[in-house]
């Protein structure tokens, strides 16, 4: 179960909300002086997702990220096409790599991926399962990838076929890079009674299992040190 059947009377990490603004400031370069040109894009996305840990929600402010359409790139990967929520969990690198990228690998690199242990990938993204609350949208792809065995090295390869694929979906995703902050005095701590307007803005609540998956992936997104910060000792 991806969502709970009944939503609680408080905001939780991963909740889907409706009616919250999203802002994105854009600058050309860091300001040398105070009055340089900038742009602030203000939108009202259909849905936003709560990005604060449950215990940090409240005090008249909240961190949110808009719910966006699943990047069409992911639908090309047969492993994700079968179940797009596999993006949320540890995945087999061999199966999760885009077929076009796979075809560009050397035999040695392919072997590395075949032998690699499952791990998180596409770290920025987390998919929200389809739901009647979400409007459907169209997906259109021009290429289809069919797996075959390469005679030269006896390893899998993908044959690209020009074939139109169109379908509708209600799956959405969030991008951890798009988290923004919003102030609203009606947002209170989870232990206080929830304002009725805030309660009405709450559309869906993740099940405990899904919320744990979101927590795991987001922790990994921030907790994955870059090469230069890694040590063996």
């Amino acid at each position: 179960m991806f969502y709970t059947d009944v939503t609680e009377q408080r905001l939780r990490f991963g909740d889907v909300l409706k009616g919250y603004l999203s802002t994105t400031p854009t600058i050309i370069e860091p300001f040398a002086e105070r009055n340089e040109a900038y742009n602030i894009d203000v939108r009202l996305p259909d849905f936003c997702v709560v990005m604060d840990p449950c215990c940090q929600i409240g005090g008249g402010s909240i961190s949110l990220t808009p719910l966006i359409q699943v990047r069409s790139y992911f639908w090309d990967v047969p492993y994700f096409f079968e179940d797009i929520t596999r993006i949320n969990r540890v995945m087999s690198p061999r199966l999760a790599i885009h077929p076009h990228k796979w075809n560009e690998l050397t035999s040695q690199e392919k072997m590395e991926l075949i032998n690699a242990t499952p791990q998180h990938g596409y770290l920025r993204f987390f998919v929200y399962e389809e739901n009647d609350a979400f409007p459907p949208y169209n997906v259109s792809r021009d290429l289809r990838y069919e797996e075959k065995i390469d005679r030269a090295d006896q390893l899998p390869t993908y044959e690209e076929r020009r074939e139109k694929l169109e379908f509708q979906t209600k799956y959405y995703m969030i991008d951890f890079k798009s988290v923004h902050h919003l102030n609203c005095k009606k947002i209170s701590r989870p232990d206080k009674p929830l304002d009725s307007k805030i309660q009405n803005s709450k559309i869906l609540q993740l099940s405990i299992r899904t919320r744990n998956e979101l927590r795991d992936k987001m922790s990994f997104y921030y907790g994955n040190p870059p090469d230069e910060d890694r040590t063996d000792v």
Partner: protein, 81 residues
């Protein structure tokens, strides 16, 4: 990381410390092993001749970690400009 060594007869004669014999031809190949870099000598047909050098690998990541980092790169969506 391989070097090809081929000594000609003149160099062998000039050196004065070698025994006279057929010229030595081999390649060296560096293999990472744990925290070390092992330089091995291989004949031109790929047979193991011996170890030439053992060095500390200054890149302390293990082979497993390096592979793992590379895999993250494979599992990234291409940048949208």
């Amino acid at each position: 990381m391989s070097k090809h060594h081929e000594e000609n007869d003149d160099e062998i004669l000039d050196s004065g410390t070698h025994s006279h014999g057929p010229p030595e031809s081999y390649v060296t190949q560096v293999y990472p092993f744990d925290k070390y870099l092992i330089t091995v000598k291989l004949s031109l047909d790929g047979r193991f001749i011996g170890i030439e050098e053992v060095q500390i690998n200054k890149d302390f990541r293990s082979y497993k970690q390096k592979v793992s980092r590379k895999i993250y790169h494979y599992l990234e969506e291409p940048e949208i400009e």
